[in-house]
Structures are given as C-alpha cells and as structure tokens.
Symmetry: C2
Subunit: 436 residues, 2 copies
C-alpha cells in the first residue's frame, strides 16, 4: 500500500524530520503573505457575508481563541482568497497557502501541544498540494474544476492529519473524508463563491481529520481505482506522487501587485521605468507607451479603460499607467478615487498593448518569453525595459522589503485602526514557522 | 433566465401552492421512514464518530433545540443513511430523504416561522433531486460519483432556500453555493464514508442557504455552461429539468428489508411462502430452495454463507433462508446471534440462486422481469411464488402496517429505552407534513 498515494503521503508525514532553515524561512514568508492578504480581505463583501453567518468567528489577529475551528477556517480561508492576492503555485494551478494556513492556524489554537507541528503540517500539506496537482495534470482544470478547492481539500486533510499526529489508519481515513468533500466549480469564478471555495477546502480538511480521529474510517487509499479520486477528477488512474517538501515550498509565487497575473510583468517593467526616472517623459502628451507581450498574454486583460476597481484589475492600460506614474501598484490603485483619476486615465489612453506575432525561441506560455515596455516619442524609443521572470515567482522572488510593503498596504486596507499589527503578524509568523 | 435550471427551480419554489392530500401523506410517510432508520442508525460506529466530534448534537427526538443546524444535519443525515435502509429513488439513483429530512428539520427548529414550510421544502427538494438526477443520466453515476451526495447537496440547497423563503437573487446563489460543495465518491462505498456523504450533502445545503441569505452571491445559473454543474458532472451541458412534485413524491421506494436491494424480491417471495404455510416443508431436510432471478440480479449478492451481519446483507442464501423460516427480515436478522444460528445456516445451505438465461420479454434490468422462489422435493415443486414488483416500490408501495412494523423494529434497535417514541415520531411526522 506504500506505493499508493495515501501510503506515500502518510510516509511523508512520519518521515519529515526537521525542516531546513531555508524551508522554515519560506514557511514564515508564506504565513506573512497569507495573513497580509487575509487582513486586506477582511471587510470584503464575501467575508462580511461569512462573518454575519458565523458571528462567533474572530479575526486571526484578535487575542481570543476560536470557538470552532471549522467555521473559523472557512472564514479565514475565504478572506485570504477574497482579493485573489494570495500566493499561487503555477504548475498545479492552485492557491495553496490561503487553504493551508487558515486550516492549520485555526486547529493549532484549539488543540494543545500542536504548536510545534504547524510548520511541518504546512510543509506536508503543500507537498501534497503540489504533488497531487502536478499528478492530476491540466485535464483536471480543463474539465472545469477549481483545483485550489478540489486538491486543496485533500492537502488540508493531510496537513491537519499531520498536525494531529494521526496514526496510519486515521491518517488514510482523513485523506478519504477530505476527498469525499472535494469540489468547487470554475462556473463560480467571477463571483464571491470563488474565494469561498478556498475556505470550503480549508474547512473540509479540518472536518476530515477530526472525524478520522474520532474513529470514522474510510478506504485505505481513496485515490486509486476506477471510482477513486484520481480517475473521477480526470487524473491518471494509478500513479505515484512526487512529494518534495523543499521544492514545493520554494515553488510558491507571491503576488506583488493586486491585479490579474497577466499584468504583472508589464507592471514590473513600468515600475522599473519609473525608478529610472523615465516617467518624467510622460509630461509630454505626445509620449506614447508601448507594451509587447508573448502570444496569449493578453487573454485575461479584457478591460480597456476601467470604470471601477474590479475592472481596473483586468486592464493592462490602467495598471501600466498607474505603475509608470506612481512607481507602485498597491491596493490603493483600485480604490474609486484612483480609478476615477484623470491623470491615470490620461496616461492609460496613451498605452498600446500587443502580443508579439511569434513565440520565438522561448515558446508559447504565459510564463515564457519576455515583456517589454517602451516610452516612444516621435517614432523613436526614449526608454525601454524588458522583464523575463514573473515578479514574485521562484525565478524572481519577492524581497523581504517588498513583502513588508505589501503587509503594510494590506493592513492599511483591512485593519487601519489596529495598532502594531505588522509586528504582531511577524511574531505570529515566527511562531508558526518554529520547528519543535 | 427562467428556462435555465436555476430559474426553473426558483419558479417551482414560488409557485408551489398547497400540496395535495396525497402528497402530504407521502411526505408524512417519508418523514416516518427517515426518522425510523435514523433512530436505528443512531448507535452505528459512523454515527458514534460524528457524535464524538460534535458532542453538542442531540438526537432529533430529544426535546432540546439544536444549537447548530449544520453539524446537526450532518450527524442526522449520516445516521439516516448508516444502515442503507432509507428510501431510494430508482431512476435518479439517489437516497433523497436521508439528505432532505435532516436538513429541513434541523433548520426549521432554529428559525421561527418556518414550520409551515417544511412539507413544501421537502417537496421542492425532492423534485429538484429527481429532476436533476434524471437530467444527469447514468453517465454521472458511471463516472464514479455518489449521486445521493452530489445531487443531494443541490436539492438540499433548494429545499432550505424554499424553507427560508429566499428572494430570487439569494435563491440562485444558494443553488450555486450548494453546487460548489457537490462531491462524494463511490470509492468510499463499503466504508463509513458512504453514509457520511449523505450527511455532508444535508449540511452543504444548509450552509448554502444560510450564506446566500447573508449576502454571499454566486452566478445566476450554476448549472449551464462549459464549466457548470451539468457539464462538469457528466450531464448534458444545457437542459430543461422536469420538475414534478407529485410524481417525485410518489416515486420513492421504501426498503422493507434491511439488506441489499437485489435480495428484496427473493425475500418478499420467501415471506409469502412462509405466510402460505409452505415453510413447514423445510422440516424435511431434503427440501431444497430454488431462487430464479433475471439476468444481472445476483451481481451484488456476493456472499455465500455469511459470518457477520454486514456480510449477511449481501447473501441471497441467508436472507431467503431467514425470511422463509421466520416470515420476516427485520434488523434482528443481522445481529450476531441470528447470523450464527445453525437453523438459518442449515436452510441457507439448501438455497440455490440462479439467473435465468434469457431476459425474455421483460428485458434486462434489475427492476424488470420477475423473481421466483420454489420449494423443491424429489425433483418436483412443492410450493412456488413469483414476485414482479419490488416490495416498497411505487408499484407495490409499503403498507402503513409494514411501515409501523419497520418503525418499531428500528426503535428497538436504536433507542430501546425511550418511551412512546413511535407515537412521538408519528406526531413529529404530522407536524412536518402540515401544510400552512
């Protein structure tokens, strides 16, 4: 049974040992990033609907203990994904930390003695998330599943089973109960249910481990067979997972800008132009902005000149204009006053975006090739910057300074009156990543 | 939008009017049957695991109000399906009442003013369950989905949305949040997770309606489109549902015997032989028992002579022997003393089951053709009975007397020390089916 996925996952949990300093550092950064975006999303309409339904749930930075881990993780997980500003793992097409961190944190606060296992639980959950996501392949996503939610539930079931140090029978049952709850449809994208689906996965993982601990038994391996998780969710019916904690933790991408991923490279190039002083050229109304991206990279940037913040996130013109003009693209770029600003709109109208006609040597794919932003005057290029790696991705990791800036920005949005919150988050992150 | 499933379901809810007396009577019987099997399942290992995880949940016959509708419905729904003795709808391949009754009852006890809407909520939920199940077709089940759970979640979301009288926007969102939680794998069959999946559907429906009432919004129609519920769960991508309350309520099959469905017709024939006095012939050790069934009807009867109760449920020989010998096949047939009884085992060894070689005019299908049980002595038939309709099915509905007997049997199993429980269940059923 060890060569079946459930056996592999249990073996990973039991054999984990101490995490390396580099892994612990990334766990700490994942926690900071997740708490930051959770805070920024705390007053979003979807989070308010959850807080109204479950009024006993408090914010994770409030001193009180949660009274109920399941609804707490549901609310926190949803809030963390509410702005779609949380971390991403590219090849598994999932947002792992918005599911895992809330689930682990909610349970650990209720179950004495689990504090030292939090970082390990995150590492196990992330390795399962990445390993299972990669095993499923793109057919899973293509079918219409929300992989963050389907795979996230199983990953959370593994993480909480590790946190609670379940024995083998219960650990395998936790995976099966989690898989029994796997769901979440792309049909719900563009609505409040998208972030909810992340929260549901967090909650499902907790429910799974708790029930398994109470003696609720499932099959020894829920993944294999004609009617198992892999086959039903469009994966290969029998497979070995690649479970690699170091690689999984190092493979997270963290968003630097609160907008559609496809705008991230253009925005990063625009910020570098600003930093180089080139944005002064925009004072001349005849200066144009040209953005060249590889084929396929405009697909989701469907908005021309936005009227509201949620549209601005999908406008290549607006995001580049704002970044050129201010040198940043934080949450305040999407408040009504910014979107309505004649200055940004005036520059946005001078931006032209186009996909390059050939893929070149780099091939096709939104993470391939490079993006170039040029300032053009009288037919000649006055300034130009090219960006290859997605900012925040493993190839161009978010710096500690940028993560600090994101944290401050998120706190200013979600909890502006809380004192010393950034320091508290940093302290909570250290405690989360502590390796007992 | 009205011709989309979500619009059709909302229109059904708003246009329902008073239920006919015949429909109300069937709702009352569905309630009695569900409470009976829930009671019988109250001490099963799966229910005990839930009660340990959620210790605040009380039995539905206890006078206290539930403190939390979600975990209450999870526990009650699981208990109702724990013995696989609850009602079934054949063409949609679902167990509807074990999902719907617990969800409705748990919410109605917490929300003042909903009592008069319980029967309507059940009727709407059941019509959605049957309509959606029929629309999905067998491809859904064939894929490996547990339809009771996938479709049940949406049906429960509709039922609770009706119970809470949600407006159109919230009603449609309730369907979408329910669909976001649809899941449940046949891989978990044969384990405690099968009944859990029914409970999860009940819980999901409540969560959906509560969140939608709090303002959590989803798409106007979650069912249609490439990534909608129908397409992702193997249904036709665009369809109109057939939503017919009267037909749905009249279409329920209720189990008379606590064993695999494939044994029901042989057992019914055996009981009629017993009633005709023919079982006296078994005193002669040379009397054999021959059971002839249409092709395919032995598929799930995989156990020859059982050693334990859970095996006995899948033994055609044992169930027929017990029914011939005692004239009944209640829950006590599956306790250790019965299964170990030399008398029943002795008769069971004389039973021969075979599938008839041709389907004949009736065609193939487990609900087609007829089943014949013969007592044979010296090569000649001494007694013979044939059964065409499944006992308890719409073609041979359970009688009130048989339902009473089932109720008493279930109470003796699940709550033997509770006084007057049958009378309380009948009174609760009348209150449930009341049409305000």
């Amino acid at each position: 049974m060890l060569n079946m996925p459930a056996g592999q996952i249990f073996a990973l949990s039991k054999g984990i040992g101490d995490l390396s300093p580099a892994t612990r550092r990334e766990v700490e950064r994942a926690y900071i990033d997740t708490l930051a975006v959770l805070c920024a999303g705390w007053n979003e309409p979807v989070t308010r609907a959850l807080r109204q339904t479950y009024p006993h749930v408090r914010a994770p930075w409030e001193a009180v203990s949660p009274s109920d881990a399941e609804t707490t993780a549901l609310t926190w997980g949803t809030a963390a994904h509410a702005l779609d500003y949380d971390d991403v793992h590219m090849t598994s097409v999932t947002h792992p930390s918005a599911v895992l961190v809330p689930a682990i944190e909610a349970v650990a606060r209720l179950v004495p003695g689990t504090g030292g296992r939090k970082a390990g639980a995150f590492a196990v959950g992330l390795a399962v998330n990445v390993g299972l996501g990669n095993a499923m392949g793109f057919a899973h996503y293509e079918k219409g599943w929300h992989a963050t939610s389907t795979i996230g539930a199983v990953a959370a079931g593994a993480a909480i089973a590790h946190l609670l140090d379940l024995d083998e029978r219960a650990f395998r049952s936790s995976l099966a109960v989690a898989a029994a709850q796997s769901g979440g449809l792309q049909r719900n994208f563009g609505t409040m249910i998208k972030p909810l689906q992340a929260g549901l996965a967090a909650q499902a993982g907790i429910r799974a481990a708790h029930l398994a601990r109470s003696g609720l038994e499932g099959p020894g391996d829920v993944f294999t067979g004609n009617n198992g998780f892999l086959a039903v969710f469009e994966g290969p019916p029998d497979t070995r997972l690649e479970l690699d904690i170091e690689a999984a933790v190092a493979g997270l991408s963290r968003k630097l800008f609160a907008c559609c991923y496809m705008a991230h490279r253009p925005v990063a190039a625009a910020i570098r132009l600003h930093e180089a002083g080139a944005s002064d050229l925009l004072a001349d109304q005849d200066t144009g902005v040209e953005v060249e991206v590889p084929p396929g990279c405009l697909k989701a940037l469907t908005v021309d000149i936005p009227a509201i913040g949620s549209e601005a996130k999908f406008s290549g013109k607006y995001t580049v204009a704002h970044a050129l003009s201010t040198g940043r693209l934080g949450l305040s770029a999407f408040v009504p006053e910014s979107v309505a600003s004649p200055e940004f709109a005036g520059i946005a109208r001078r931006v032209v975006l186009r996909e390059t006609s050939t893929a070149g040597e780099a091939g096709v794919g939104i993470d391939r090739g490079s993006v170039t932003v040029s300032l053009v005057r009288g037919g000649s290029v006055a300034a130009r910057i090219s960006i290859e790696a997605y900012p925040g991705s493993p190839a161009a990791p978010i710096t500690d300074a940028a993560l600090e800036a994101k944290l401050s920005d998120c706190i200013a949005m979600g909890a502006p009156h809380e004192k010393d919150l950034a320091a508290r988050f940093r302290s909570m992150a250290k405690q989360f990543a502590r390796n007992a």
